[in-house]
């Protein structure tokens, strides 16, 4: 989230699209209710299903899954055609007037530079024209034909309300109503918030779904303001934290990146990470990259990371592909190229697409290690459960070791919520049986490896034997010690250059903020964006003062928010170019003539003059991007692409199948249903129920009583067409697998008219499996396709094709 849950009370319009907060985030949704009750805010829901969020909305519009970009580009077209743009904001704080290089173009669904064989672009033309002064060229009058505004205007012109209806199935009048409600928020004193979740991410163009709404929020002037923002609701309690700390193939904590093999040495690595400002006076905060990187290397390898060895640059592995994400991992496993796999609190057999492929892959491992508080299907993938899990254990050679771990109620530590608050929690109970913390397990593995490498040698022992591990009890480091490492500390004294008798930083002390981190090895920090969370003043994440001066919803003394305890990022954009709040009734920070001050921690240098320095300090331009240069693989503007499995061809680009640059493995392409397939005619989508959390709560008695059994939801029309009875058994199958479920025939799902043709929707809740307290059932991922988003490989769980028929139920 750019903002926070408690900030939603400040909004005028809530748009829930790509999420279902009332059911999936009920206690956060209360802030929508609060905004409606106290401010008269309106709630709009756009979703293929009439969800419980829709049930309490002021306006609901149906949409076919996988067509959100067509809808949102339609909104941008509407805003431009009707001049509903907050121009003062857009001209000052976005790249609307930047001139794009000559040679850039777009035609028939593709941008310049497309290579069909590689399924990739040469993105060299997707950039600004750079002037003789080294800065991007800007036409403030917006007259230049290649300025971002004119390119955008042209790009979205095809998405007329009629075209939106033909693609999305949203009736034109409903689309226009939603567009006009959003357009009202172009006023500086009206604000809209976007609440989205996996309904937007789980598509082969998920990143562009979100980007598209972010562009709308910029055009309306809604980023950096109270009650505005792009608010990712986030599904798991610490998925924000796990990502911040870089537990991904290509990340270093704090959104630094693992080197690729094209960067053979540290100088080559830093040469593409200079982040020289693209406009005069801009902060371009990533110019500090080296300070954060060196401090990270010092946290990892201490005295072994020196200037002489380029801060142990060679201790980091180098990538040969963009990432070894989970989809690639299972593909390699299936090809017999992986031997050992760890699953820490993760049940991929249920949570990833194409269960049959996953099970086959797991069967090719030598060793599978499970660390989990609960039984999982993954740990028992080799066990035969009839139709629910066909397996012949005698033929599966994978050894499985299952380690019992503690749960949330049994350890101390911090979790990061959607609003970036790091909240510390305390252990309450004794773990069951012999369960141990994950920290204990990781420490044990490390200590054993280190001992063996010290004793016997082996492949490149250096990064293992030199890893910083100076904990009081090396066998189980304490959460406080680890939190202090994440915050960062001073390695060696730093003296005041003007007065060497004074220490600017003192060795052994916790750093107060990332602002003091250095690139000379005198500071260490595990995760620079967390600096400030555990300082000399103590554990800031444990703070529990719920005071909120003037009821702004900021709660600056409750826990700690990254970065720098800031609650709304880009908050300098809450003021106009002169530093005066756009809306006096919703002041956030402001320029007092000498410095920035207000209710939040300013997201800009305190003395940065408002006319000089742009609010988007992480960008070298200082402004935000409507045209995103080469930052995304699939285009500098979003384009409507159909899902890989689609009931219709792409109307605006009939020759383009799915996202043209999404990575698809060969065997998986063969397992996609054809476009407009007669064999698989129905558009399916998967989702959560309010009573269940993924595949965890089926282990709970209460939740299993509330929702005991797997079911699918279909419309009355489809039920009639297929002679399916409510509560009767059906079989649902895709090109990858088949499930049996009870049918729930409902008015909440209705067929949509898509370009003159009815499209039926099949809704598939995700929560069942073959272990737990609930009845045995099938996970939705028996059916889903093995393909991810072109930029970050989130699987396309939300839009695929199935068939359905009445059935007598499973024979176990």
């Amino acid at each position: 989230m750019t903002n926070s849950w408690t900030d939603i009370k400040n909004t005028d319009l809530v748009v829930i699209m790509g999420g279902n907060a009332a059911e999936a985030h009920p206690c956060g949704f209360k802030w929508v209710t609060e905004a409606k009750a106290t401010r008269g805010a309106k709630l709009v829901v756009v979703d293929p299903r009439f969800t419980r969020s829709a049930a309490v909305a002021d306006y609901y519009a149906p949409i076919r899954q996988g067509t959100d970009i067509a809808f949102l580009l339609g909104v941008i077209n509407y805003l431009i055609q009707n001049d509903k743009i907050q121009w003062d904001y857009v001209k000052a704080f976005t790249n609307v007037g930047y001139i794009v290089k000559e040679g850039f173009g777009y035609q028939d669904g593709l941008f310049t530079g497309y290579d069909e064989m590689k399924r990739d672009y040469n993105r060299s033309t997707w950039d600004y024209e750079i002037g003789p002064d080294g800065y991007a060229v800007v036409d403030a009058t917006l007259q230049h034909p290649r300025c971002v505004f004119n390119l955008l205007k042209q790009h979205v012109s095809v998405y007329t309300p009629e075209m939106v209806e033909r693609i999305t199935g949203t009736p034109k009048d409903k689309f226009l109503k939603v567009a006009s409600m959003m357009a009202e928020c172009s006023s500086p004193t009206k604000t809209m918030t976007s609440m989205y979740a996996l309904g937007w991410t789980q598509h082969s163009k998920g990143s562009q779904n979100i980007r598209c709404m972010a562009m709308i929020q910029l055009l309306l002037g809604n980023i950096g303001v109270r009650g505005g923002g792009m608010n990712a609701l986030r599904g798991h309690s610490n998925i924000q934290g796990l990502t911040d700390i870089g537990l991904m193939s290509n990340l270093i904590p704090g959104y630094l990146t693992i080197p690729t093999e094209k960067e053979p040495d540290f100088n080559a690595y830093m040469s593409t990470r200079g982040f020289k400002p693209l406009r005069p006076n801009q902060m371009s905060y990533w110019q500090n990259y080296k300070k954060f990187f060196v401090s990270f290397q010092k946290a990892m390898w201490g005295a072994s990371a020196t200037a002489d060895n380029n801060w142990a640059y060679d201790y980091l592995p180098k990538l040969d592909v963009p990432s070894y994400d989970i989809l690639r991992a299972f593909e390699l496993m299936k090809q017999g190229k992986m031997n050992i796999y760890f699953c820490q609190g993760f049940n991929p057999l249920q949570a990833f697409p194409n269960k049959a492929k996953l099970a086959e892959a797991l069967g090719k491992l030598k060793l599978l290690v499970i660390m989990d508080p609960l039984e999982t299907e993954t740990a028992r993938f080799w066990e035969n459960h009839g139709v629910y899990n066909q397996a012949d254990p005698s033929k599966i050679q994978t050894e499985v070791i299952q380690l019992p771990t503690t749960c949330f109620a049994e350890d101390n530590g911090s979790l990061v919520n959607s609003g970036r608050w790091l909240q510390w929690h305390w252990a309450a109970g004794t773990p069951p049986g012999e369960a141990k913390t994950d920290i204990y397990i990781m420490a044990q593995l490390h200590l054993r490896l280190k001992e063996m490498y010290k004793k016997d040698g082996g492949a490149f022992p250096d990064p293992i034997v030199n890893l910083t591990w100076n904990y009081k009890d090396p066998h189980e480091p304490s959460p406080d010690e680890l939190a202090k490492e994440l915050n960062g500390y001073v390695v060696s004294d730093v003296l005041d250059p003007n007065d060497p008798t004074k220490k600017v930083l003192e060795a052994g002390k916790q750093v107060p903020t990332f602002g003091v981190l250095r690139d000379d090895g005198s500071t260490a920090a595990g995760c620079w964006i967390y600096s400030g969370c555990y300082t000399e003043a103590g554990n800031m994440m444990a703070r529990r003062d719920n005071s909120d001066p003037d009821d702004t919803g900021a709660y600056l003394k409750w826990s700690f928010a990254w970065p720098a305890n800031r609650r709304i990022i880009y908050n300098r954009a809450s003021c106009n170019i002169d530093g005066k709040p756009w809306d006096d009734t919703r002041k956030l920070i402001w320029w007092d003539g000498a410095k920035w001050t207000g209710y939040d921690v300013p997201d800009i240098a305190p003395t940065a003059k408002p006319q000089d320095v742009g609010p988007f300090i992480m960008n070298p331009e200082g402004v935000s991007r409507l045209f995103t240069r080469g930052m995304m693989r699939d285009g500098p503007f979003p384009v409507h692409y159909e899902p890989f499995e689609s009931p219709v061809a792409n109307l605006i680009a009939p020759k383009v199948r799915g996202n043209p640059v999404a990575r698809v493995f060969k065997d998986d392409f063969a397992q996609f249903a054809d476009v407009a397939s007669k064999e698989f005619p129905y558009a399916a989508t998967s989702y959560r129920l309010t009573e269940h959390f993924h595949y965890w709560t089926k282990n709970n008695h209460v939740n299993s009583v509330l929702q005991p059994e797997f079911f699918v939801e279909i419309s009355e029309q489809l039920a009639k067409e297929k002679s399916i009875q409510n509560a009767g058994w059906v079989r649902v199958w895709s090109k990858r697998g088949s499930v049996f479920a009870k049918a729930y025939v409902t008015k909440r799902i209705r067929p949509l008219m898509v370009d003159g043709k009815p499209v039926h929707i099949v809704g598939i809740p995700i929560h069942w499996g073959f272990v737990g307290a609930a009845k045995k059932g099938f996970p939705a991922n028996v059916l889903t396709p093995f393909v991810g988003d072109a930029n970050i490989e989130t699987p396309e769980f939300k839009a695929f094709l199935v068939n359905i028929e009445p059935s007598t139920g499973p024979v176990a």
């Binding site: 999936a24 009920p26 599904g235 798991h236 309690s237 610490n238 998925i239 796990l242 990502t243 911040d244 537990l247 991904m248 592995p317 990538l319 040969d320 070894y324 994400d325 989970i326 190229k337 992986m338 031997n339 050992i340 820490q344 993760f346 060793l367 066990e383 254990p393 033929k395 050679q397 994978t398 070791i401 299952q402 019992p404 749960c407 109620a409 101390n412 530590g413 990061v416 919520n417 608050w421 909240q423 309450a428 004794t430 397990i441 990781m442 490896l449 492949a459 490149f460 890893l467 939190a483 994440l486 719920n546 709660y555 409750w558 309010t690 282990n699 939740n703 737990g772 307290a773 970050i792």
Partner: protein, 199 residues
């Protein structure tokens, strides 16, 4: 900082005070004391109250966990009740159908209690000790790493990567667990490293 402790002390003091002084001063001492002794003590007096966060979605509702026994004092602590934290700015004491049943996941019959191993071709899990399990895993890691570690690529560039072992990290562990995991995994050169941000 620890608000719940001050509340507990207040209640303890107040509880004693009600029976011992205030009412006693009105002259009904023995009768009131008899009545007071029939009233069940407050949960707050009887259990240890600890602040925590719901383990499910990222709204991160504040919760209060009540236990018999005080873990912080080194005692065995049995969790008896979980409820919403009314002082929490986001959830203000409310919990959803999942959060309201949190006790069930802590106490689930599906909780794992001891290390287990399923051997190649077997149709069952068998018990294994922690020491044996960890030794086995560490040895397997070293053998696989030594056999498959790639120090240089075909062009002679130092790449120091290990691709035949992978690690799938969690979604609900703490930042501190995450960092311990990051350090151990990354120091081995593993690149097949991912979490649940995508699901």
């Amino acid at each position: 900082m620890n608000m719940e402790l001050s509340r507990r002390q207040f209640l303890k003091t107040a509880g004693a005070g009600v029976a011992g002084t205030t009412l006693g001063a009105l002259g009904f001492g023995p009768i009131e004391e008899a009545l007071a002794s029939t009233i069940k003590p407050f949960r707050l007096v009887n259990t240890t109250e600890v602040r925590n966060t719901c383990t499910y979605c990222s709204v991160a509702c504040g919760i209060l966990i009540f236990s018999k026994g005080n873990l912080a004092k080194g005692e065995k602590a049995d969790i008896t009740h979980i409820e919403g934290d009314t002082d929490h700015p986001t959830n203000r004491g409310t919990l959803c159908p999942k959060g309201a049943a949190l006790l069930d996941i802590v106490k689930s019959e599906q909780r794992l209690k001891q290390p287990m191993i399923r051997r190649a071709g077997s149709d069952k899990f068998e018990k294994i000790s922690w020491g044996e399990a960890l030794d086995k895993i560490a040895k397997a890691m070293k053998a696989d790493r030594d056999a498959n570690f790639i120090a240089k690529n075909q062009d002679g560039v130092t790449v120091n990567r290990w691709l035949t072992t992978g690690f799938l990290a969690a979604s609900a562990t703490t930042n501190e667990t995450a960092f311990a995991t990051y350090k151990v995994v990354r120091s081995t050169g593993i690149l097949t490293f991912d979490n649940q941000a995508r699901v």
